[in-house]
């Protein structure tokens, strides 16, 4: 064996990944809306150890969000209908963003709008703002009346939003897709043609719950979005299918609670993973996933996380 073939940092695999121009020191981030704006979980973990942070969905104007109840537990999951409560982009920039400036942590801002123009105005504003590393375009929120899912359900509209955002920013544009479609591949293909830099898969599944005592829907908004381990098989399938069809980096998410779950997503084709609902149960999930990934790579003699991305496609 020539010395050239000996891995350079024997023992410590490379974890850095590039998500469509966004450099992450490791491939573990969080799901928008499950991790607030940073300060909420800072007492429990060192935010610097995250590959990136994805903040709660931001809209042009402040939004009060939906009526309560907004969350209900379901078997191995949660249904939420927060309805994009957020302070609006201006107060986000002045009030929430400064906290994150103190960390060595790329900030991905999740943006949502009712119209294509909303998205472009958001993209323009955020592109002029220091401390924003990338945009995650949320065209898949099931919890608002207009916009959101409406764009994500139709390949052409999804492409239109993508194209407009791309034209309004120099930042990497990650488009977050909805699983509530007949073909997530069809949407992904159009979004890729519209020059998206990366994809986030998946947002929540449209669901509901009914209170049999009051005989009314549990959620104030009636319908909500399902997340958590319950949806993992669906999320993994989405990553698998899209990876086969589209050549863009994927941030995989949906039900990840352990390193083993995360590794399934890498093998299916993800370049990075996001932890959402699992933060609620274990605020250290991201750290445990990160350590578990590193261990898996070492135990299996991989020297770079990128080696396992999509690997399961070679084995069928």
């Amino acid at each position: 064996m020539s010395s050239a073939s000996v891995p350079k940092n024997a023992g410590k695999p490379n974890l850095a990944v590039n998500i469509g121009g966004l450099w992450m020191k490791n491939p573990v981030t969080v799901g928008s809306g499950t991790f607030g704006f940073g300060p909420e979980y800072a007492p429990y973990l060192d935010l610097n150890r995250l590959g990136a942070i994805v903040v709660k969905g931001i809209t042009l104007l402040p939004r009060a969000g939906n009526a309560t109840p907004r969350l209900v537990e379901t078997p191995a999951g949660v249904l939420n209908s927060i309805g994009l409560q957020n302070p609006g982009v201006d107060r986000f920039i002045t009030e929430a963003l400064p906290f994150l400036a103190d960390f060595d942590l790329p900030v991905i801002v999740n943006i949502a709008g009712d119209t294509v123009q909303d998205y472009t105005l958001l993209a323009e504003k955020l592109s002029r703002t220091a401390g924003v590393a990338a945009l995650e375009v949320n065209i898949s929120c099931p919890n608002v009346k207009k916009g959101g899912l409406q764009f994500g359900s139709d390949p052409a509209s999804a492409a239109e939003v993508t194209r407009s955002v791309k034209e309004s920013t120099h930042l990497p544009v990650i488009v977050k897709l909805s699983p509530n479609v007949t073909s997530i591949v069809a949407v992904a293909e159009k979004v890729a043609e519209a020059n998206a830099d990366a994809l986030s898969l998946i947002n929540t599944l449209l669901g509901m719950a009914i209170n049999i005592r009051t005989r009314r829907p549990v959620l104030g908004n009636i319908l909500g979005g399902l997340s958590g381990p319950a949806v993992k098989p669906v999320a993994l399938r989405a990553v698998w299918q899209v990876r086969k069809a589209v050549n863009l980096p994927i941030i995989g998410m949906g039900g990840i609670i352990s390193a083993a779950d995360a590794i399934e997503f890498f093998l299916a084709g993800a370049t990075a993973v996001a932890i959402g609902s699992a933060n609620f149960i274990n605020p250290l999930t991201t750290m445990e996933v990160l350590e578990g990934i590193e261990r898996y790579l070492m135990d299996n003699s991989f020297t770079d996380i990128r080696e396992i991305s999509g690997l399961a496609h070679n084995n069928i």
């Binding site: 809306g33 909420e40 979980y41 969350l71 209900v72 609620f280 250290l284």
Partner: protein, 263 residues
């Protein structure tokens, strides 16, 4: 300060059927805990139930470094919690939220508790006693059997009035009605504290408003994270002149009575 830790159970007592008092060794939490704050408790060890459950801090034993919870078996999570035994460990996140504010000086306050609302109220009463605050305590319950800790609270030296839904002890009716009848015309309370079911708190807020006294109510909402990240636990408040949603887990669970908007 707030912690994520595994705490060992030192004692699990069944007080009456369906109601348990649980002591957990956790010096860090004991040191940080304030009355009205809560913990996010992992009741099981599997994915079902999935979420943590919010349980108020009921008492602390500073000598032993133990935090005490008092809970009612309401469903799957609390049933699993009730199955745990001494020596088992439980994952806790907390203390969380904004608790009750204590009055300045040796004021006189009223404390109104309904049902399981006694859980955090007990901790409040212990602290008030420590600070020499005198309190009129109004305890409501469904039945005499569920009037918990009456003797202990009496022992703190408070005036204690009781009400039961079925009349099996004390006033026959709602604790809020008892309180409304008992409240002195010349409002002299530096603070009126309340914890209990939604309907009771709503009525109490009215009484507090007509009495013109300051009040603090501990609210409940379904929680996801417990730390302010998910925005699921909000309630409507009217602070700073405008109606807005605030997070029960972070800005609450204790809110100024006059700021809560009832929907």
């Amino acid at each position: 300060m707030s912690f994520l830790l595994d705490a060992e159970i030192t004692k699990q007592e069944r007080i009456v059927p369906g109601h348990f008092r649980l002591s957990l060794s956790s010096p860090d939490i004991v040191t940080a805990a304030r009355p009205g704050q809560f913990l996010q408790v992992r009741c099981g060890s599997t994915l079902d139930p999935f979420l943590r459950r919010p349980i108020s801090i009921h008492a602390v034993d500073r000598k032993k470094g133990e935090v005490v919870l008092f809970y009612r078996v309401a469903g799957r999570g609390t049933s699993l919690l009730a199955e745990k035994r001494q020596g088992n460990s439980v994952s806790l996140l907390g203390p969380l939220g904004r608790g009750f504010s204590l009055p300045e000086g040796k004021a006189r306050v009223a404390v109104v508790s309904g049902g399981i609302g006694i859980a955090p109220i007990y901790f409040l009463l212990v602290e008030l006693a420590m600070y020499g605050v005198s309190a009129d305590v109004f305890l409501g319950a469904a039945t005499a059997e569920q009037l918990f800790f009456f003797k202990e609270i009496k022992g703190f030296g408070y005036r204690v009035e009781i009400a039961t839904d079925d009349g099996s002890a004390g006033y026959h009716g709602l604790v809020t009605d008892l309180f409304a009848e008992s409240i002195p015309l010349s409002n002299e309370y530096a603070m009126i504290y309340g914890c209990g079911p939604g309907g009771m708190l709503r009525r109490l807020a009215e009484i507090i408003r007509s009495a013109g006294a300051p009040g603090e109510l501990s609210l409940e909402e379904r929680m996801g994270c417990g730390v302010g990240a998910c925005l699921s636990c909000v309630c409507k408040t009217s602070g700073e002149g405008k109606v807005q949603y605030q997070r029960v887990c972070t800005e609450g669970p204790v809110f100024p009575a006059n700021e809560v908007v009832w929907t």
